[in-house]
């Protein structure tokens, strides 16, 4: 699954000057040197990969969700069916199956499209028994592309997969939020002579966010907890490095031999996620407090009463 590795990271010079001969070091210095090896740098960078995935996926999923929700309440029947089917199917099936499915399906879909465009006079079938064969020019990324393009492409596929799956979830939340906007608001808009399009953009969309926020906040927490699945999509993420670095090492392959430390590496990951969740919880609470301020909802009413007494 992990066909790409970082040869350049292994060769990077040590950060501390006393790290040249690990055998002579005391406990503390040994650990300091061990934790700053090139491979550990890869491990630390992969935390950045996770954060980057979250930063890119969250808005993309929101966009997908908005599209799905708008489609599900469209007046055009096939579009409405499409929106509802999108929401329903993703909810009924284990997410992990979707992750495994979409990564291959997207990859093959893209290559198939490129194949149709770039090699129109190709006469052999694309599926030959158990193989998927496209012409060399249609390969994604091209066979001679540099390493980083392969990595960016893999990451991009992961982002799209996450966005499709979480978009369905966000669509569900936003569909509910759009229905929660009081009917009278929309009727007033109609009474003022607004077209359906104007009503949607000027009245419905601005008001739905308060109703959508608790669900979207929940979704954010779920999204954080889904990031380790990147590992299954073939990206070198924190799970990959924790397994790689934690495994028992003999003196033959490294200057820092140690027993099986995977337990401790995964303990660190556990702490990372717990901390991340806690911080998100605190921030979401704050945003919610701000948004409910002055709203005609139970939360807003409770705030008003709390301030009055």
């Amino acid at each position: 699954m992990h066909k790409y590795s970082h040869p350049d990271l292994a060769k990077r010079p040590a950060i501390f000057s006393f790290c040249t001969d690990p055998d002579t070091l005391g406990q503390f210095q040994w650990l300091a040197c061990y934790l700053t090896t090139g491979k550990h740098m890869g491990f630390y960078i992969s935390f950045g990969t996770v954060l980057l995935l979250l930063a890119v996926t969250a808005p993309t999923a929101l966009l997908f969700g908005f599209g799905g929700a708008s489609a599900a309440r469209s007046t055009f029947l096939p579009l409405r069916w499409f929106g509802k089917a999108y929401i329903a199917i993703v909810r009924g099936v284990p997410d992990i199956a979707f992750f495994l499915f979409f990564v291959i399906a997207l990859d093959q879909g893209i290559e198939w499209l490129r194949h149709q465009v770039k090699c129109p006079d190709w006469d052999q079938p694309i599926r030959q028994g158990n193989d998927f064969v496209v012409c060399a020019a249609a390969k994604m990324p091209l066979g001679n592309a540099p390493q980083w393009i392969h990595e960016v492409y893999g990451f991009g596929l992961a982002v799209v997969t996450f966005a499709i799956v979480f978009g369905a979830f966000a669509a569900n939340v936003m569909y509910g939020a759009m229905r929660a906007v009081p009917r009278a608001q929309l009727e007033t808009a109609e009474a003022y002579g607004m077209t359906p399009r104007q009503t949607f953009w000027r009245i419905l969309v601005p008001q739905m966010w308060v109703y959508a926020l608790p669900g979207l906040g929940n979704l954010w927490m779920v999204l954080i907890k889904a990031t380790p699945l990147l590992f299954l999509l073939g990206v070198e993420d924190i799970v990959y490095w924790a397994r790689e670095l934690g495994g028992a090492k003999t003196a033959r392959f490294t200057d820092y031999p140690h027993a099986d430390w995977r337990l401790w590496y995964f303990f660190v990951l556990l702490l990372f996620y717990l901390g991340f969740t806690r911080v998100s919880e605190i921030y979401l609470d704050r945003i919610m407090k701000k948004l409910t301020h002055g709203q005609a909802t139970t939360g807003g009413e409770a705030q008003r009463k709390g301030a009055a007494t």
């Binding site: 099936v93 284990p94 199956a97 495994l100 954080i224 907890k225 699945l229 799970v239 996620y273």
Partner: protein, 268 residues
Amino acid sequence: MSCLQTIADYSLRSLGMGERLLPKSDFTLCQQFTLIGSGMLHNIYFGLLALIAGFFLAVALAVGKNSANPLLRKPAEWTIFVFRGSPLFIQFFFAYFLFLSLKGVAPFFGPLTSAWLGALVVLFLNTAAYSGEIFYGALQSIPKGDLEAADAYGLTGWPRFKRVIWPTMLRLAWPAYTNEAIFLFHATALVYFSGFPAFKQMGDALYYASYFADKTFNPFIPYPILAGYFILLTLIVTGIFGLINKRLNRHLPQNQRQKLRIRPRLIR
């Protein structure tokens, strides 16, 4: 080879019975349906046992978190936070390596390193934490009038819990608990993709689905089959939980009964 023969060979393959070798080439639809269905036995096993055992711990956790005594409340709060705040995927990995090092200390812990027990323990604790939070929320939203009525009747302690709090808590929590159950069955698909190895290629439905997808390089057949099985399972779970929901609400007037609204979340 006829389809009946395939079913005879592979329908119990996930339990280690029947044909030993998995199909290697010339995959038929029948083989894929049979093997993936056979793997579903694992999903049902994990989901069912974790759900039943988890229910009791969940009630204990909810009552603990609701308690005024910090000695009971703090451990319950922390258990719920740790299992709800971290990804199940990481929990599986962590538990597997923890059990592996425990096995080094005492061979007594050996069975924990295999999926049938180790993964079950993780799923049990995980679902207990999620359901515990649901039950805790229900405990918090028991109508004040119900408790005042119990006080007026002179009910205290255990009878008060058994006759007033417990039935109301279950009734209020049931729709959310149904979602949790569906969600737990979905989560069982993670077992063989985290540290736990599939012994002698005896895996769950997703394990076989991805086996076929890897071999045929065609995801468009095995994954939709898997999806079909899971949608079927979801319908069955919803049906059973709906019957229980009906029974829990049987004393209410028809128009006040809570309808089950199925909103499973995606991932834990």
